[in-house]
Amino acid sequence: MSGKEGSKPMSRMPAGADSEEARRRQRLRSLAIALALGFLVVLFYAATIVRLGGNVMNRPL
């Protein structure tokens, strides 16, 4: 049996569980995704600067 057959429904939250704690955990996950995206932006920026090297300043008019 493959992992596909072991899939469960996406939502494991019954209506009664929509509490402050659930919202806190959702906020934490959103924060983790935001931080990962922000990190990627910094990563690409830093790599671009490194790859361009001294040519960053080379902007003839």
Partner: protein, 310 residues
Amino acid sequence: MSGATLEASAGERALLNEPTVGDYLALLKPRVMSLVVFTALVGMVAAPGGIHPVLGAIALLMIAVGGGASGALNMWYDADIDGRMARTASRPIPRGRVTADEALTFGIVLAAGSVLTLGVLVNWVAGGLLAFTIAFYVFIYTMWLKRRTPQNIVIGGAAGAFPPMVGWAAVSGSVSIESIVLFLIIFMWTPPHFWALALYRCRDYERVGVPMLPVVAGPAETRRQIVIYSLLLVPLAVSPYFIGLGGIAYLVTSVALGAVFLWLAFDVRRITEGREADTAAKKLFGFSIFYLFALFAVLLVEQIVHKALM
């Protein structure tokens, strides 16, 4: 018990099952990832030429993320058997912390992201090799070989052997004989390492129908194969000295530790009954991890010293 209490307890249970960041990290198989990162680092340091530290750090991070993605995809596919084996029962999917679909999405996003980032920011030889490594582990090992043949970890072991080649390619932009030797050392190391584990975890694999060698061919044949692969591994592990990759410290370490490795492998072959047999297999399994770590650590130190003195 009132209906309100019942509803609250259902809510509590649901909350307890909500995945945390730690559960997602566990999907990445952090212990396997650490070996991937370490061997890739050795490949990077040993490669000719150099790489800007920022790009080197990005390459290493992407190799780690790619390795983690393989782990998540492996856990997605193997969720059905993981829950029935003692060693893997506490993984996030069998425990109900993360759904299989979530693990699949997580794995695909990380795999694609790591390959693209490595390719775009470092070079496409390394990116391509990382993509091949992930694909090999997921499609060839996990989906095809693992449940079909006792040669699963022999061929599938290649996936775990690629990281030093990816690291080497990240720096040099190519594949060379030295990086292939690093690959071959891990490739030859994998069978005695995993078969030693399988000898004393045999019942687990048998119960879930994974045809590990001790299950299919029996412990005696497994012990014979462990010795054969150990005899192939030890001289191969000494070879970096003869192609100029390792120095005298590496030669001494690889010969001394190789002798211990062979001693323990022959012990596994000799002691076949009772608790002592399990102990011999556990000793070889434990030592094999130290052996690989020590070989690569000495290579790393020698290369750093060599480059510092140049």
